[in-house]
């Protein structure tokens, strides 16, 4: 499982390499709302997005909505999906509920939106770490055949976010284990619960690339080569740079 970084000039913890391997393999497999080829295309578009001239002009504009045009894309995805990938990748601090509602009104389903955001997040997590270490970006996985499951959890309902989410009381056996036991589920964990498999996969990365829900609050010992204070300083500075309050 750890072969992903076997030739890297810097040692990557085996548990983290294994988590990245699981995430990468899963990107290539059919999801709940996109098939394997579409999921890999979303990952590829995520990497392509920073070179988009339209996104550059929008970032420099007072309001991104004021700048019209077409994204520079790889051309493998519908325009609405390209818009999601590019905006989430390039200008996340200025996403708005009005923008989100416009995409849904244009025909993108809420579930497709969540799965798209999740794939972008997976790629950003892995690629940003590689950039920090001066490593080449991992090759994207080969797509596997098969159809998406179209599974939508029956208990999902509107809460505090733009999208329906699952409260712990609304979980069925199929969604069991997506939230940590013994403490309330944070909103960031509920955010993508309209597609529970994405919660499982993304928080698998979270637990290994950051810390698990228990470790992050256990200040009595350190679980990484850097301390809790050092970890949280990095986290807070990144969120400030991204203009993310959460």
């Amino acid at each position: 499982m750890s072969e992903l970084y076997a030739s890297a000039p810097i040692k990557i913890r085996a548990d983290l390499a294994a988590a990245h391997t699981r995430a990468w393999e899963r990107i290539g497999r059919p999801g709940n709302w996109w098939d394997g080829a579409q999921r890999v295309a979303i990952a590829a578009e995520t990497r392509h997005a920073p070179s988009c001239a339209l996104c550059r002009r929008r970032i420099e504009a007072l309001s991104p909505a004021a700048i019209e045009g077409e994204h520079d894309s790889l051309g493998a995805l519908p325009e609405s999906v390209i818009e999601v990938v590019h905006r989430v990748r390039n200008d996340p601090g200025r996403l708005s509920e009005r923008w989100f509602r416009g995409l849904i009104a244009a025909g993108l389903s809420e579930e497709q939106y969540v799965e798209t955001v999740s794939i972008v997040a997976h790629v950003v997590a892995v690629d940003t770490m590689a950039r920090g270490l001066g490593l080449d970006a991992l090759p994207l996985p080969e797509p596997e055949p098969g159809l998406p499951s179209h599974y939508r959890p029956a208990g999902a309902k509107l809460g505090g976010a733009w999208l329906p989410w699952l409260e712990p009381a609304g979980l069925t056996e199929q969604e069991a284990g997506i939230y940590p036991a013994g403490r309330p589920a944070a909103n960031i964990m509920k955010a993508m619960s309209l597609v529970p498999d994405e919660v499982k996969s993304f928080f698998d990365i979270v637990s290994h690339q950051y810390q698990g829900p228990l470790e992050m609050r256990d200040f009595s010992r350190e679980y990484r080569a850097i301390s809790h204070a050092q970890i949280e300083l990095l986290a807070a500075r990144v969120s400030s740079l991204n203009q993310c309050l959460y």
Partner: protein, 116 residues
């Protein structure tokens, strides 16, 4: 918020202005300035600055620490996008616990309510 909680546990007073890049020292966190410079360089576009920040941090905390630091930067660069793209609010208890330093640091301008 967990930065402050960590400080309370260890009876340390971290300068939360480090979060906004407003201070040029460590802010009470060991190698804090190098960590902040590394995070800024990873999210920036200056490859020379990134190489220098990476080398300086590795020299200070070692390659294993550097790998963990890069992981945290990558993870939060992603998790911020999940939060922003789904419009999740800050939980009530977190909002209450962080109200003072959010106001002091001017962070409320990044809230979901400000992006409707």
């Amino acid at each position: 918020m967990l930065l402050r909680a960590s400080g309370v546990t260890h009876n340390r007073n971290y300068d939360l202005n480090s979060v906004t890049g407003a201070v040029q020292d460590d802010g009470g966190v060991p190698h804090g300035r190098l960590l902040v410079e590394f995070a800024e360089a990873v999210l920036g576009e200056d490859e020379g600055a990134l190489a220098a920040a990476r080398a300086a941090l590795s020299k200070a905390i070692g390659p294993t620490g550097l790998a963990d630091a890069a992981g945290v930067v990558g993870l939060f660069n992603a998790i911020d996008r999940v939060a922003d793209a789904t419009g999740i609010p800050l939980e009530a208890e977190k909002a209450e616990a962080s109200a003072d330093f959010r106001a002091a640091l001017g962070l409320d301008r990044f809230s979901v309510a400000a992006r409707r």
